[in-house]
């Protein structure tokens, strides 16, 4: 196997060190490591992180290959510094059987850019009525451990209770998309000052918070653990903080866009800002950043949601919800958390690699950068600043809210088990 020497990298933001990769594993970390027989990558002060892990990605295959495929999605992931992504179940057909999750898993294996761990649906067809065969999906080749109806809320309290209980048998976790359906009928954006003015259907914070409150209490009652997807309000933060203080086994994620953008952007009626959950207020953004910094929110997950151009090039109400995020996530986290002093790079490694791998039980990912560990690594040029140009995306879709925005940091190299998937910003 080939050797690679990464020279002078700030491992997790620390003092520059050399990292020697031999085959699929990190052979040594230290100063002045020998370069003989190794391809040398001059890190030159760049930050070296463990390969990022995204617990919330929509790869769209099968069914919506016009917006993304497993191949294009994993290429986008590698571009963004990810070595493992969890693929959401809302495909066509829905990933609610062992057959579909195995298909997605195999496509991921074939792509070679990034490990793909399928998420199984909680209920058949995401319809919230009947449990999907959770055990069969777990026992399949895909080895599903995370279950979610994401895109839809498991709103029936009994079904949610049963799911939380049932997955205990094999150590699974249910990831809830918290959205009370009746309170969000016809909802188009965050309910508040801006929605009142724009005349767009309001999406109240309470629709998210009430479901989170119910689910943490259910998790406590049945002694299970629950994961909250894309938490978006200050009130949700308070509930999760309370639940954790009470010892409830809850974890939560926040998306990069909810750390940066607010509902003021909707004034443009540009559907590129249309997303579920909706962009909230400045106060929410600040609360989410604080919660990510203090650990109330455990991880950053992209909710990468590709859509074809025509689904966004229309009036707001007709547009699809969602934003692509894999290729900009780290930049947004640097902008909102690192450059603001809220989180150091070790903290970023924790929120974007260690913890998500832990929640998703991803073996071989989210490991420390030290000798003997799998060589899943990401090299970040943190001093860089530049405008986001969607034309350069590896994703099949371009629905980014950051077009033309200046953001810091760029991923220059990604290694998946020692194999470079991204070199000098270019996919291999």
């Amino acid at each position: 196997m080939s050797k690679t020497l990464i020279r002078g990298a700030k491992v997790l933001g620390g003092d520059p060190q050399d990292v020697l990769i031999d085959g699929a594993v990190v052979e040594a970390v230290g100063r002045n490591l020998p370069a003989e027989g190794a391809e040398v990558v001059e890190a030159d002060g760049k930050v070296l992180l463990p390969g990022l892990v995204d617990l919330h990605t929509h790869l769209r295959e099968p069914g919506r290959e016009d917006s993304e495929t497993v191949l294009t999605g994993t290429r986008a992931a590698a571009s963004g510094g990810y070595t493992n992504v969890f693929a959401m179940a809302n495909t066509f057909p829905v990933a609610d059987t062992a057959g579909v999750v195995e298909q997605v898993w195999r496509l991921g294996q074939e792509s070679g850019y990034c490990d793909v761990q399928p998420i199984g649906a909680v209920t058949v067809g995401l319809e919230g009525a009947k449990l999907a065969e959770l055990g069969a999906m777990h026992e399949s080749a895909a080895g599903v451990t995370v279950f979610s109806d994401d895109g839809k809320c498991v709103h029936d309290a009994v079904i949610m209770r049963r799911a939380l209980e049932y997955v205990k048998a094999f150590g699974g976790v249910v990831a809830q998309h918290a959205q009370e359906p009746r309170l969000t009928e016809g909802a188009q954006m965050n309910e508040g000052v801006v929605s009142a003015e724009l005349g767009l259907g309001g999406w109240p914070a309470v629709a998210e918070e009430s479901v989170i409150a119910r689910d943490v209490l259910l998790a406590e009652h049945v002694g299970s653990r629950v994961h909250i997807c894309h938490l978006s309000t200050a009130g949700s933060v308070e509930i999760v903080r309370w639940a954790k203080s009470r010892g409830i086994d809850v974890t939560a994620e926040v998306t990069p866009h909810h750390l940066l953008l607010t509902d003021e952007l909707v004034r443009s009626y540009n559907p590129v800002y249309k997303v579920n959950p909706p962009l909230r207020t400045e106060r929410d953004v600040m609360a989410l950043r604080e919660a990510l910094a203090d650990g109330t929110i455990d991880i950053v997950a992209t909710d990468h949601a590709p859509h074809p151009h025509e689904d966004k090039d229309c009036e707001w109400a007709a547009a699809a919800m969602g934003m692509v995020g894999l290729e900009t996530a780290l930049s947004v986290v640097q902008e909102t958390m690192v450059d603001t002093g809220l989180l150091d790079w070790a903290g970023v490694a924790d929120r974007m690699s260690f913890k998500p791998a832990q929640i998703g039980q991803a073996t071989g990912h989210g490991r420390p950068v030290s000798a003997g560990e799998p060589a899943n690594l990401t090299l970040v040029e943190s001093a860089y600043r530049g405008q986001v140009d969607p034309a350069g995306f590896a994703s099949r879709s371009r629905n980014t809210p950051y077009e033309g925005r200046e953001l810091p940091g760029r991923v220059t190299h990604t290694w998946l088990r020692g194999k470079a998937t991204l070199v000098d910003g270019k996919l291999t």
Binding site: L198, G199, D313, W316
Partner: protein, 326 residues
């Protein structure tokens, strides 16, 4: 350079007064034997209606024809064209036929704004009502009606509505008319009060430039004009209020309530009225009710808007919000 009218909030006080003054002159054309002006000769205006609204369309059509514009009516009713692709494609198809202006009514809030700012078409865009967002020409004709009644037809020229107390009653939450009126009446110096059951007021209304009350009876004696908004019966099913009877008992305007208004105060309604719901027949048919006048004034206002947006080589109305986008 923008040539659109998307939101009443985009109009400055001077813009609004210019439109009202121009409409007063336009109104006089209706008294002539030949109710037509050559002003927009050779210009093509399309009335692009994705929502059924015969009265608004006819009003625009009359205004366009009185200004000698060539008029194309496109009514795309129903769900087959409610998809987003259709708005863009339809607009581009029409523009390819050489349209100078698009008057658009659409069920989706923001659709006219998208049409004006997305680079889909070059034509001027006039918002004839979008979702629950805005209906600027309705607000203008309401302001015109109030000014005529309370300030005077000739004495009102050049004047705004400084200090006039105007009360809007009804389904504020779902009303584009209410949003446009709050913006415009405030710009014109009026003191606006919204009266509705709390369920029919939007979250965030506290930031609007107006007062809010749940009590109609205490507001009536302090109103120079009371504008009733239509309350759709289907709202009842979504639990916005318990029954039609209860609504009209608490928020409907009947003769007894009208008597609590000052003698000079008028009753307004943008139509269509739901008699027995927000207004009784007695009030609707009284001299104090301006509903029919509002329809007449609508044509004059729309003539004024079309003239000021399309009559010259550039618009005579400034547009803060849409201009900033460019």
């Amino acid at each position: 350079m923008q040539r659109h009218l998307i939101s009443a909030a985009d109009l400055t006080r001077d813009d609004a007064v210019l439109i009202l003054d121009t409409a007063e002159e336009m109104a006089r054309v209706a008294d002539r034997p030949i109710k037509k002006l050559p002003t927009l000769r050779g210009r093509t205006v399309v009335n692009l209606f994705f929502e059924d609204s015969t009265r608004t369309r006819i009003s625009f059509e009359a205004a366009e024809k009185r200004l000698s514009a060539d008029v194309i009516n496109f009514t795309a009713k129903g769900s087959s064209v409610s998809k987003g692709e259709s708005l863009k494609d339809t607009a581009q198809t029409l523009e390819a036929m050489g349209v100078d202006a698009v008057v658009i009514r659409h069920g989706a809030s923001g659709a006219p704004y998208r049409l004006a700012t997305s680079g889909w078409i070059d034509a001027a865009v006039v918002n004839a009502g979008d979702g629950t967002h805005q209906h600027p020409t309705q607000a203008l004709l309401d302001a015109f009606t109030v000014r005529r009644r309370l300030v005077g037809r000739d004495t009102g020229l050049g004047k705004d509505l400084d200090g006039r107390r105007i009360t809007l009653v009804g389904d504020i939450l779902h009303s584009r008319v209410a949003r446009s009126n709050v913006d415009l009446l405030h710009t014109l110096g009026a003191e606006v009060t919204l009266v509705a059951p709390p369920t029919l007021l939007p979250v965030g209304v506290e930031t609007w430039p107006c007062e809010v009350s749940y009590d109609l009876d205490s507001t009536l004696p302090k109103s120079d004009a009371v504008m009733l908004l239509r309350v759709q019966r289907e709202r009842m099913n979504a639990a916005f209020f318990p029954t039609e009877r209860e609504y009209s008992r608490r928020y409907g305007l009947d003769g007894d309530r009208m008597a609590k208004m000052p003698d000079h105060a008028v009753v307004m309604h943008p139509g269509p009225m739901v008699r027995g719901m927000e207004i009784t027949a007695e009030v609707a048919d009284s001299d104090r009710c301006t509903a029919v006048e509002q329809v007449t004034n609508g044509v004059s206002i729309r003539m004024a808007v079309l003239y000021l947006l399309l009559g010259g080589n550039e618009p005579a109305v400034s547009h803060a919000r849409t201009t900033e986008e460019k």
